[in-house]
Symmetry: C2
Subunit: 343 residues, 2 copies
DNA sequence: GTTAGCACTCACATATAAAGAGTGCTAAAG
DNA sequence: CTTTAGCACTCTTTATATGTGAGTGCTAAC
């Protein structure tokens, strides 16, 4: 499908106007902003051909035109001019991320918040799953007479902790035993080694000590399963309340979808090496038929790791959003890589 | 203001019917559910007197009656029969809380989630501020070559951690120094001791070592300020989308309010020894004029500590909500107290 | 290929009427 | 003095008709 330059410009004009006003755009309005001069009748002829090609929709016979999903697709793939972020914007984003640069957990949380704040859409940040990461260390910290915290640190730079309770008083010596026993056997192995069955066999191999260690072992299992699960953080769901194109009912369905981490993860973690845009049905998610998703995967240490995404109404300023999310996801990838290398 | 038994029964009937249907209730409907038999005309006379007293509102002259805020107030204070939770319900709630019983952070998070899930309203959990709590220990755990985590544990059973980064390689010995220096000076003091000025003077008193310790000191300051701040957790904001009495606009304002922790805290932390109900304007919050708040303070170790609350439309089943929140807040108080005593 | 002109369409707003729920009042009965 | 039946009245809701205006599609001329 090849479009004449004029058709391209008209299509772009329709999208620009519609994105900024939210109203169907008529032939007259287009004439006003075109950089060459034609009559509205000419524009009308072009519009009707664009409609025929399925690039524009018409809410009803006598209304202006609205971009169809196919129209948005063409616009994003070939027409849209991508404006890189100004250095000022870059500095602003950097300043948002810097405070949490050394804590992966906080970083990914901060990123979701920053993304939601900048775009005014709902943001999703999926943290790398640490399944294949190696166990770097298992630390114990006493938190009260009979409770302690187990901290699992991985080569992916993630860290998970959990408090557990014992039926006897803990002492530094006992904790040292926990530490030695577990680190001797587990450091260097992939986190995915820690399964219920493995913990079971470990307990058996401990003989007399297995009673003593049942609480920390259960906690370790727990924390390992937590670490293996790709974490899904969402932020700014509230922002979606501001878009009048969403009905109360649609809003509910979207919010509901946003609270289902597995499905979000499935949708966003498809491999891709740059920013992907999913428009309406392209998300394969009926509840998002009126929404678009912009997602960017990022790599840590050269390997695909997490993803960053926004979800908003199909009518959005794609150019701006793509620039933002691209810069943000590159930053996160870079920061996490540095964090990993420094270990 | 003394009401005849009949008026009381009629008022209660109006509220019960209105709460369950959401429609203004007419005199006929009331006759049907009253446990004595009178004509609709009699009921109408009573209704008009109740209206005159300001206990009922009328959307328009020819509509049924709707409880006024004053009517709800009277109902809650004197008419409502409080149904204690069945032991089955109690067991259900207990089972929701048990898994996180040993970790205050998780507990308070779990409580908010449980409350939102059970009531289908927005839930708020305010954790005790640990300002007056004593510092129990300051632990350090290495997380990578040049980063470590500082963990502040308090006598209130709370625990906060933060990762920090040094410009030199860390070793177990260095961390031991951090530990010794800080614990020697700070354990036993109230958390509120740790102010920027105090950290400053501490650094000065360390002489040569202050360079070495600047990162952990800053991290400690950070984590202490975090600990002193009463934490406000919200959950289930989404639930409010389901109540058609909220307009899109009102919803936005409520959500916005829910995201302002200081104001939530100010509203909910007023001292009180049992469940409080705030109806509409009683919240002193213009954005909540169509909402009610049910809040229950709980004590830890005999002292007022945190609060648990729900926010929903004024039309709600107060009896059910109050029972739930009361049981939940007692459970939390008890669990946190046990946690504290065991230290 | 482009443009002016014009009939036509359709959403939206406004006005009018009919239906229905529920009240308030009056007068009679208990 | 309280209760009740009866009825006119009010006000929302729903349906139907009417006018207005933005914007199109088409035709014929340039």
């Amino acid at each position: 499908m090849q479009l004449s330059t004029r058709k391209q410009k008209i299509l772009a004009a329709v999208i620009d106007l519609y994105v900024s006003t939210g109203e169907p755009v008529g032939s007259k309005a287009i004439c006003d902003i075109l950089d060459f001069s034609v009559s509205s009748a000419t524009v009308r002829n072009e519009l009707s051909e664009l409609s025929e090609m399925g690039l524009l929709d018409q809410p009803h016979t006598s209304a202006g035109r609205v971009p169809s999903h196919k129209g948005y697709r063409l616009y994003i793939d070939t027409l849209m001019k991508r404006r890189p972020l100004s250095s000022e914007e870059q500095r602003y984003i950097d300043s948002l991320l810097l405070p949490s640069a050394y804590d992966p957990q906080k970083l990914l949380d901060g990123v979701a918040r920053a993304l939601a704040g900048m775009t005014r859409f709902a943001a999703v940040s999926i943290t790398p799953s640490s399944g294949e990461a190696e166990i770097r260390a298992i630390q114990f910290v006493q938190t009260s007479r009979r409770t302690a915290m187990v901290i699992l640190m991985t080569s992916a730079g993630t860290m998970k902790s959990r408090v557990f309770h014992c039926d006897f008083d803990l002492t530094p010596d006992i904790l040292r035993v926990f530490y030695r026993v577990l680190n001797e056997r587990l450091v260097g192995l992939p986190v995915s080694t820690i399964t219920p069955a493995y913990i079971q066999s470990l307990a058996v191999s401990l003989g007399d000590m297995s009673m003593l260690m049942s609480s920390p072992l259960m906690a370790l299992l727990d924390v390992a399963q937590d670490a293996m699960q790709a974490e899904v953080l969402t932020d700014g769901e509230m922002n979606l309340l501001f878009y009048r194109e969403f009905s109360q009912d649609e809003l509910r369905r979207i919010m509901d979808f946003l609270s289902r981490p597995q499905e979000l993860s499935r949708m966003l973690m498809k491999p891709a090496n740059n920013v992907r845009v999913l428009i309406g049905e392209e998300t394969d998610q009926p509840e998002l038929s009126g929404s678009s998703v912009v997602v960017s995967r990022y790599a840590v240490g050269g390997k695909d790791a997490g993803a960053l995404a926004i979800i908003g109404p199909t009518r959005m300023n794609y150019s701006r959003i793509i620039s933002n999310i691209e810069y943000l996801s590159n930053s996160v990838g870079r920061m996490l890589t540095e964090l990993m290398d420094s270990e």
